[in-house]
Symmetry: none
Subunit: 213 residues, 4 copies
């Protein structure tokens, strides 16, 4: 019955915030951001509406926090801050990491896609939600921390380096573009196809790696 220490309070706070974000993410992804009510989230998280507003200023703030958290986790997982050089082994490794992410962060990516599809949302979250265009033609300052740019640069370098290794005609820009197309298609399929346990899709990622390695 002794009063809780500040540290304990902090732990409670973080636990609750994590709980709320987890529940919210799942329902945002499954039922859509607009269709998911605060009431619904609170009820499923086993807390009151009021408490939700104690932790997050608004429904939109909750959404941003969720995205921020997931982006950071992905950022860490992908370990972008390394030298940014991809050799063939690293390329394969990186693609497989993305494939893992698509499954493990399925809810997040589904939510992200929902939001990207909506123009007005896109305009409001230009940083957190890189538009597909900015992904393709990023207009960001050199050296900035905007990680889609970094990833893109990594792959750009990778494909341009390959050109030098080839003796036959090779169009690195086109190859990069096609690679992005394939990855996007693969991602969408991974996110929105019903889960199935045959190894069709398992093999497809191998085929993609083979193709671009």
């Amino acid at each position: 019955m002794s009063p809780r220490t500040p540290k304990q309070f902090q732990e409670i706070r973080e636990e609750k915030m994590t709980l709320i974000m987890d529940v919210a993410l799942e329902h945002f992804a499954k039922e859509g951001y607009f269709s998911t009510t605060i009431n619904h989230i609170a009820r499923h998280a086993g807390i009151s509406k009021g408490l939700m507003y104690n932790y997050f200023d608004s429904k939109e703030a909750l959404l941003k926090a969720i995205i921020h958290r997931s982006v950071n986790e992905i950022y860490k997982y992908l370990d972008i801050n390394r030298d940014g050089y991809l050799n063939e082994t690293e390329f394969e490794f990186f693609i497989r990491k993305i494939d893992v992410l698509l499954k493990e962060k399925k809810y997040f990516f589904r939510l992200l896609m929902q939001l990207l599809i909506q123009n007005d949302v896109k305009d409001e979250f230009p940083k957190a939600f890189p538009e597909s265009d900015s992904f393709i033609h990023p207009g960001h300052e050199p050296g900035d921390n905007y990680y889609p740019t970094q990833i893109l640069k990594m792959f750009t370098d990778y494909f341009y380096r390959k050109k030098e290794e080839k003796d036959r005609p090779y169009d690195p820009a086109g190859e990069l573009e096609f690679f992005k197309t394939v990855m996007l298609g693969y991602s969408v399929k991974a996110l929105f196809s019903a889960d199935k346990k045959d190894d069709t899709e398992v093999k497809e990622i191998d085929k993609i790696i083979e193709l671009f390695k």
Copy 2:
């Protein structure tokens, strides 16, 4: 001062319905189905809310009518009811048709993607909105008129026929799967990238055709 003829009424009706559907489709695609209010549609169409309900029973009925109309237009344009045999020339022709559709029916396909992403909507429109899964593994009866199945069969046949023409090892199922991945990625990029007039993407469709022909 003579009263309007039934034909005149019919014309007015069709004009207004087309107007409403056009305006609604654009806003559904841009701002999302749920975020687009009936008020908004009416204001942009220059009519009253009440008139909307004179022509469409509900917001959902409007949505269904829009989808129905677009599906029919696409159906006609793609001319599915031919023999269903694709030779290489027809294959190229068909892909280019799809490419044209992606641009001309951009709003519709954007809307469709929004709806497909939302689970609950998917369940309600199983025919009009082929789920991504049914697109990949259609469970429909042979011979039915369900056109995604027909299209898929056409391409399946195409890829299996190629196998016989090749002397080197060839996996038609894997090839079909990869083709779908590429088309999906290409479609998403086409639908959600900012329009640009350089010829980067113009070339990409050529590359895709080249790859699978």
Copy 3:
């Protein structure tokens, strides 16, 4: 193709008005005044909404016209303008007339009851819709044409006259009141019970007549 004469126009007018009122009365009685839409009436009468407004200024005006018509028909049928004297034979005859009316003007009386139940409606139609209170204690001028008053007076006279014929103690006011209770109960049952063809109810009116004759 000769132009219609004014008389023919008049006939068309009256036919249409009768048609509209008939259809409206049925639907008002069955579905309720508020739940019955002008559209519904027009559709079932086979005419356009506009035409309805050509004949009746408003939905309320239509209601009033229907009531006015029925009241007049009933008035005529009951032949109130006779001397107002009821002997025993005439008493029986009158009760049987009311019984017939309850069946033949079922829709009208059902509608009337709906309206009487609603206070605000009662206040608006004090003449057409005699409140139950005014029926019991009419506050109208002597000699006026307000027929519930006349009917009431007729029965009052009837029961007071019976007093003189009796040698046993007899309370004409109480008898009148009880008579009204019985007639009201009988009417409500007649109007809202499911029609049945056994002779239970046939006998009940006989019993009532017997009791008060």
Copy 4:
């Protein structure tokens, strides 16, 4: 500053629900169910529209809750679950109880009559709203708990028992029917007549009791 206990919340809830139901019942009875708007109820109850929907899912749910409450209260007050045998003293007692109910639950019974008059509503509330027909010819299983049936059976027994006590010709079925007619007429008058403080109506219930005892 300490948070409210669950019990306090419960009390607030019950108080507000009672308030809302009381206000709604009065207005439903006076202005009619359809004519009474949620806005109206909220304004007269001194609360917001939103709060009403916090406690009741819909206008119809509110109506059902009101009916359910009143039916339960009446059920308790009439104490149906006794042996179901009526001697003459109990008969008088029961009739007087009904008379009291008619005055104390005036609003409820007015509302009930409105609803019974509307065909479609009757079909939806067969249990809560015994149709006049089922009151007269109940088609329910013997022994069921449907209380109009129980009450009817009680009176049926009462009148058939009287037959045996009489030496003169006596038709119990006809007597029961006539009793129902009288009670219905008396009820309708009690519910819809303007309140008056003379003792005319006080005496009528005495007369009715006298007549059937």
